[in-house]
Symmetry: D2
Subunit: 142 residues, 4 copies
């Protein structure tokens, strides 16, 4: 089960060539991850960072930019967890607009204690939420 | 009649002191102006820039930052046109969240031909839309 | 005595109309203030924020955008303190490139304790540094 | 032969956790590519985009974030071309500061005609410049 949220390509996102300047895609991606935590996993970034002192820095990122996006485009951003480790989580992310995939990204986040700056095990509530989004295991053949 | 739209303070907007880094307020402000043009004046930025070759650069800006905003805050951004010239327009803009005014800005936009890079008279449709939002003239005393 | 530093207009700063998107001027302005603190006032932002727990948020900003800047332009940013209060400081800032003034800004910074989030008196070393840049008082008539 | 340029971690780059917000690394990376084109390949981005109508969008990006960077850090960004195709170019990019590698990226750029929005063969001068930076071919065994 994946999570989908929306973004709109703003004037601030677009370069002199008239298309999204790619670092701005990653700001949108980060907003989508914020939405996922708040709306699907049940913990907003403010509470997580300021009260629980937990951050989720990105440690690995692979992106293919498949088609450009232009000013005003409405984009659907879909987040699907792929793998869940003790302290990390791999996500597949897709941006699409008007039925055209704009980019595909593979992202690895790590659950980090903001005081010690070290990875920690996912808190139970986050672990449960992420697990709910994982692909169903392939059933063993009978 | 003013126009109101919303913004959410994102991780990308917040500085090491935990509050909005002020240049990011102006990105939100520009998004609000985009929303105003599209939803209230009836011309979206893409059409205006790419088909009509008209831009609306900011030529003057005054801002008072009255209270800080934090990660996750939902802000109402209200735009009220104050004065309409042949080629320019003065706006009062307010950001508020949780009943607290965060900033007040006075902005002057100019209607610019993107080819000649010179100010031009507002097209009729924009002029009419902006006029609709102007404060009512003070009635003369009887 | 004013302080001057340089900025270069980067691809990331430029909008679809080919000129600097104005919120990006304020990122450059903030970088110039960082340079001023480090190179002229003798305290870098890292030390000031993380060791002294002092921030210098902008509480007031007035800007006139006089001429556009384009990709690749080299800009001289000049900072001149105008007035020094117990907890605040007013600056005049000018961006110029190729002998043409691009913008003029009047900025008011406040010295803030990052723990209490309240204004505090400028530390002696900052006060002395800012004073050195203030315009000479007008001599009283004989 | 690789090309190295420098960046400084600015207040604008740093998140509430006190470290670089990763989309900002890609703005720095793009600035480094601008420097490489101007200082090493002999064509600045302004001339390339506005006169030659050529852009170099990123079509593929892989990044490992190995160590965080903090406010004030001076980073060396090293660009080494790895492979040169007819219309594309693969780069290895490394950010390092204080002897510690902060991130490693593999980037594929494409040479694009900004009018047709289609890939075109690298112009001779760019091709020659990029070739100069390619790793020496492995000599065949005798």
């Amino acid at each position: 089960m994946s999570f989908t949220t929306r973004a709109q390509v703003r004037f601030a996102d677009v370069d002199p060539a008239g298309i999204v300047f790619y670092p701005r895609y990653f700001e949108m991606l980060n907003c989508a991850v914020e939405d996922w935590f708040e709306q699907d996993l049940g913990v907003d970034f403010k509470t997580m960072h300021l009260e629980h002192h937990i951050g989720v820095p990105t440690v690995r990122l692979e992106t293919e930019f498949l088609a450009p996006s232009s000013l005003g485009d409405r984009l659907d951003i879909t987040i699907a967890p792929r793998q869940l480790g003790r302290t990390s989580c791999a996500l597949s992310i897709e941006f699409a607009g008007n039925g055209v995939t704009r980019l595909r990204a593979q992202v690895v986040l790590v659950c980090m204690d903001l005081h010690s700056k070290r990875p920690i095990a996912w808190p139970e509530t986050l672990r449960t939420g992420i697990e709910r989004g994982l692909p169903a295991p392939i059933a063993p053949a009978a």
